[in-house]
Amino acid sequence: MARSLPLLTAFIALIMSAAADLHGAETVWSGLVIAENVAQPQAIPPELTRIERPLKHLFGYNQFQVIGQSRKTLQTGQEDWLATSKFFGLHVDAQGETEAGYVLNLKLYKEKELLLETDAKLNKRSPLIIKGPQVGSGQLLLVLVVQ
């Protein structure tokens, strides 16, 4: 019994540290997506496969192309990052982690001009889609997914 107690303690500590590592090693994918209706639509990018159905159903487009993206692995839940295309920039500022996901502040810039700002609790199992401005015949969408 006296010998097994340290072993048990070490085992629990190992499990807890592994769990903490797993907990803090989640990746948030942020994407700038142009949705369009075209005659010959290209295959949907793999990052969007998970939400293909709601994308098509809610927005009514048949092609989705990623024009800018960022994949950020969160360790502390306090990181910030930028997903950019030639003219747009999506700044994401993580402001803490909750049991269900991350609190994020999102800012969409057109060059240096702030178009939209929002705060959201991004759930680990629930993607966020933001409808941005009309771009040509298509639509800019912002997508955030915890992978």
């Binding site: 269900a100 057109k110 700002e117 929002t118 629930s126 401005p133 009309q134 040509g136 800019l140």
Partner: protein
């Protein structure tokens, strides 16, 4: 030197002889009564011999008797154990009652938990939009709304009236 009692016992058993027998019989105050008593003693001795030998168990009978006694003892002990098992607290009936009672308690708690949960509360399993704003100078007529597509577990921030941009802005 034998006492009178010793000589009497020997005389009853017919173990006195010769001069000793003659002297003892001569010393008896009532010879006829003594003879009658000796006859009775002999009869009793014969009877006891007969009866005692009839009661004595042979080896086979003794063994058989012991086996029977042991079987009876073990049977009694087994039936006591069986009775003890049957009379334990967790009878089938009590188990059923306990199960039913536990289920009832669970249902009561479940009902309370479900009633306490506010259905209007946003789901913990979907992304929540806390607030959203657009630049009123750049897009003065813009509006924002949000909704959840629960079947797809997706949350959407829907904007209308944002400044439209030329197709060039779709460049990577």
């Amino acid at each position: 030197m034998k006492t009178f009692e010793e000589k009497w016992t020997a005389w009853l058993d017919g173990q006195l002889s010769g001069r000793e027998l003659t002297e003892f019989e001569a010393s008896l105050p009532d010879k006829a009564a003594a003879d009658a008593e000796r006859a009775e003693a002999k009869k009793l001795g014969t009877l006891l011999k007969r009866e005692l030998s009839a009661q004595a168990l042979t080896n086979d009978e003794f063994f058989s008797h012991q086996v029977h006694e042991r079987i009876a003892r073990e049977s009694a002990s087994q039936s006591r154990e069986r009775y003890a098992e049957v009379s334990t607290w967790w009878t089938i009936r009590r188990l059923l009652w306990t199960g039913t009672a536990s289920l009832a308690v669970f249902l009561v708690f479940a009902v309370f938990v479900i009633r306490d949960k506010n259905p209007a509360e946003p789901s913990q399993y979907l992304t929540q939009i806390l607030n959203a704003r657009v630049d009123p100078v750049v897009s003065p007529n813009a509006t924002v709304s949000m909704f959840e597509a629960k079947e797809d577990r997706v949350t959407v921030l829907w904007t209308e009236g944002l400044q439209s941009l030329p197709a060039d802005y779709a460049a990577k």
